[in-house]
């Protein structure tokens, strides 16, 4: 997975999070709908952010089989 993908995911979901914060304040959607938006976007934001700043490199490998 590319670091750039993480950046895109984090950016998009950040926009949704800001919308979810602002729209209920502006009275355009009810507060619970804003929260549902958060439920949907925050996990993507967290993972996207981490994938963006994680250390590069590393190839996929077999799982851990034993010592």
């Amino acid at each position: 997975m590319q670091s750039r993908t993480g950046k895109k995911i984090a950016g998009t979901s950040l926009v949704i999070i800001i919308l979810a914060e602002l729209l209920p304040v502006a009275g355009m959607i009810p507060p619970w709908a804003g929260f549902i938006l958060l439920v949907l976007s925050v996990p993507w934001f967290l993972l996207g952010l981490m994938l963006w700043w994680r250390a590069p490199g590393g190839e996929s490998d077999l799982p851990f089989i034993g010592y």
Binding site: L62, P63, I65, G66
Partner: protein, 219 residues
């Protein structure tokens, strides 16, 4: 008729005669979960099972052959559909039918597995499921016999008294379909390959259990 302080108000309802299919926030979330995991079963490829052969140095990974994979996926999707039906059905008997369909498709998901332990466990689980149909359908039948209706909407709020026996039978039936303490065989059948499909077994039985709790508190 459905504003009980249990799971929130009904969001919408579709009447079919006295049977009303409804969605509360609770059942809606259960439904969405069933849909989500069905989508996962459709989208994801099965994992390769890594194994060590005792006494050797190598690690072996196995893929599920194509036809078996397709069959498992089909059964997992069917299981997801049955679970979706069980979560939004407004009729106790329909719920029971969907529940037993869940039991059936759960056996189907692992039926093509060549593993002997898995097949043995699936057989045991199937027998428990079949016996559990007695309390399950029995509970629904007693509800119909004593109240004259099977509609959860009509029975909601304790307006019509549903006998305790019927509720106990329903819970017992659902527990037999794959909930503690009858699930010991089920733990064993999760050893079969094909993670997204095997997961459906667990998802569906949890969802029907959550739904039966809602039903017996509501009626």
């Amino acid at each position: 008729m459905f504003d009980l302080p249990i799971e929130g108000p009904a969001l919408f309802s579709i009447p079919f005669g006295d049977i009303v299919d409804y969605a509360s926030p609770y059942t809606l979330i259960l439904f969405l979960f069933a849909a989500l995991f069905t989508a996962l079963a459709i989208l994801s490829r099965p994992e390769q099972h890594a194994d060590i052969i005792f006494g050797e140095d190598g690690v072996y990974t196995g893929r599920i052959p194509g036809p078996e994979n397709r069959f498992q996926r089909f059964m997992a999707i069917a299981c997801g559909l049955a679970a979706m039906g069980a979560t939004v059905s407004g009729d106790i008997f329909n719920f029971c039918i969907f529940t037993s369909m869940v039991g059936l498709t759960c056996i189907g998901i692992v039926a093509s597995s060549g593993n002997r332990h898995v097949l043995n466990a699936a057989f045991e689980y199937g027998i428990v499921t079949m016996i559990a149909m007695i309390p399950l359908f029995g509970g629904a039948a007693i509800v119909a016999a004593t109240t004259g209706t099977l509609s959860i909407w009509e029975l909601a709020g304790g307006a019509i008294a549903v006998p305790f026996v019927a509720k106990a039978f329903l819970v017992l039936g659902v527990m037999g379909e794959g909930m503690a303490p009858f699930y010991v065989a089920k733990a064993e059948i999760t050893r079969a390959q094909g993670a997204p499909y095997i997961l459906m077994i667990h998802v569906s039985s949890l969802l029907i259990f959550l739904r039966i709790i809602e039903i017996i508190i509501t009626i």
